[in-house]
């Protein structure tokens, strides 16, 4: 184990110059262009990591750490470094307002609101809160991007109409003529924001799929954010990025001690001592697929193999622990994170911030 000290010193601001690529997810096929349940945007931190990796030398690359995705209003980000992070799931949002802040009740073993009730209602999903209100959020925003699927027809070379295949078409030209891109457009004056350990030179870069271009600028974190990231986490925390926990093969909902890979089958219940944390409860939702592909430095035209498909606990998940951790995410032991070539801590996995215990007396 070569323990690298991971650090987050910069805010990387990504302003799209046009559209961005949004994956439509796993259910898209030529027969079915409407299944959107796996739609994925913004790009995960591994995407940005690739941009960094292509522009850093070997030594710098070893120290790289990126965390995200977040987004912000461009002017606000530049002026006061305020950006938006996923709302912790125990804050129930409706009509752009936080209606309830649930707390875990030890006696009744459940999540209750301020009056001790269990709200039964439908609440908004995928909302975001400003980081400068982390301790006591009052405003809530919905994401500022819209999917803009559009067709890129392939035109015939010698006339302006869609290329039409028939029996006489040579085999090498049979590639289909319609290509649907699931592009995303971000609202003007908003940008994507990531935290990173290094800075890139300001300029235009390619980011994400379909050759879309963005403008990247990096600014040093201000004191407020540095302190927020260094705040020790006691026994309640909320994830602001997706977290992959577990061994090198299996994904769990909690960090486990990574010893030598044992053949654990999911049916074999592992004893609790395997887990790093002694967790009282977890407030979470559906797991997200998490996958990346390393670039190839020797030959940039030939990408390396795709990583193992993993499942990540979604951002916004809240953990309540029995014992206090007394460490900030930056200080967390690297052995809590899975490794596949590099530690998943490098992708800012499970970046967590402390949340105040909302428990009311009685």
């Amino acid at each position: 184990m070569n323990n690298v000290t991971y650090n987050l010193k910069y805010l990387t601001i990504i302003e799209p110059l046009g559209f961005l690529y949004g994956s439509a997810g796993r259910f898209l096929s030529p027969e079915n262009l409407v299944g959107r349940s796996g739609a994925k945007f913004p790009p995960s931190s591994t995407t940005l990591s690739g941009v960094f990796a292509a522009n850093l030398n070997d030594d710098e690359r070893k120290k790289l750490c990126v965390a995200g995705p977040f987004w912000g209003k461009t002017e606000r980000v530049h002026e006061e470094q305020n950006f938006y992070v996923p709302t912790p799931l125990n804050y129930l949002v409706k009509n752009g307002q936080i209606q309830h802040k649930l707390h875990w009740d030890d006696q009744k073993k459940g999540w209750y609101d301020e009056e001790g009730n269990e709200p039964a209602d439908k609440f908004d999903k995928s909302t975001w809160i400003p980081i400068n209100q982390w301790d006591n959020p009052t405003t809530v925003e919905s994401p500022p991007w819209r999917f803009t699927p559009h067709l890129h027809p392939r035109l015939a070379q010698d006339q302006r109409r869609v290329y039409i295949e028939d029996e006489d078409t040579p085999a090498e030209d049979k590639k289909g003529s319609l290509f649907l891109e699931n592009a995303v457009e971000m609202s003007p004056d908003t940008c994507l924001v990531y935290l990173s350990s290094q800075a890139l030179e300001s300029g235009w870069y390619r980011f994400g799929g379909e050759g879309h271009m963005v403008e990247i600028t990096c600014i040093e974190l201000n004191h407020y954010l540095q302190n927020l990231l260094k705040q020790p986490i006691e026994n309640q925390l909320a994830l602001i990025t997706p977290a992959v926990w577990g061994s090198n093969r299996l994904s769990y909902r909690y960090p486990v001690h990574n010893q030598k890979e044992k053949s654990i089958t999911p049916t074999q219940q592992t004893s609790d001592t395997e887990y790093v944390w002694n967790t009282k409860t977890i407030f979470t939702s559906r797991a997200h697929p998490f996958r990346y592909r390393f670039g190839n430095h020797e030959d940039p035209t030939r990408p390396k193999l795709l990583s193992r498909g993993r499942y990540a606990v979604p951002a916004g998940t809240v953990y309540v622990l029995e014992d206090s951790l007394s460490q900030s995410w930056l200080e967390w032991d690297e052995s809590w994170f899975p490794r596949e070539g590099v530690s998943f801590k490098r992708w800012g996995c499970g970046l967590a911030l402390p949340i105040k215990s909302l428990q009311t007396s009685g």
Partner: protein, 275 residues
Amino acid sequence: MYQKAYGIIETLAPLHVGASAGEESGNLNLIFRDQFTQTGIIPGSSIRGRFRADMRQEKTGQVDNWYGQEAIPNEKDSTTEALVKFEYASIVWIPVYCPNQPVVRVSCPALLRRYQKITNKPMKEFKPYSYYGKKTSSTLFFNLGFLPLKKEDKELKDYIPEEISNRNEYLVLIVNDSEISMIHDMALYRQSRVALEANQKKAKTGAFFDVEALPEGTIMTFPLALKKDGQDGLVQWNKFVQDFKISANKDMYFGGLESIGFGRTKVTLHAVEEK
């Protein structure tokens, strides 16, 4: 890091780049619009396709070098990455007819900020209802009502691209981001199109539709990025301009209905001066 460049498009005829098939509303063929300001755009892939086709016609043999080599069936690793990337073109100024003006060029802060970012011009605050140029009265009458002109902003002169015709002839005006879509829709060129049966006076089946297009005199801008180093050394902006055979400007056609005179534009390219 990519080299920065941008293009300016001035439409010399109505321009119709359609929304995807299947997005027509009834038999009105809509133009492709930006989701937030609801103003017309030309997707980057349409611009790229036109540039590529034009270069192919020049027969310089450089198309695959600039736009990437397509996959060859049953051959591994036959593709190469394009050296030049395009993003969509958005409106900078759209001409709107207005009694006794007769034309006002209108824009909004969101569109001008994109132009400012692409061209690397100095930061500036764009105030709604500020204007620049000759005015005949302090209120303008658009179809939807009266619009009071507030403050003259001489700096707006720098935001009218230099290469366009009649650059200083018309008033330029900024409206709110929320108002531009309404004014833009008012300014669009619309036409009903019909084909008749050969031997009786009735419309052919399926041959009756309305089309909307950006009016002539619309000014648009798009970013264009060039890789710094390609397969065989440094990529030169001048070489691209040379291979594309664009000297000062070039007439190019975008979008549909070319056969009835739509889509002719004048395009100029510029490298961005890095500060």
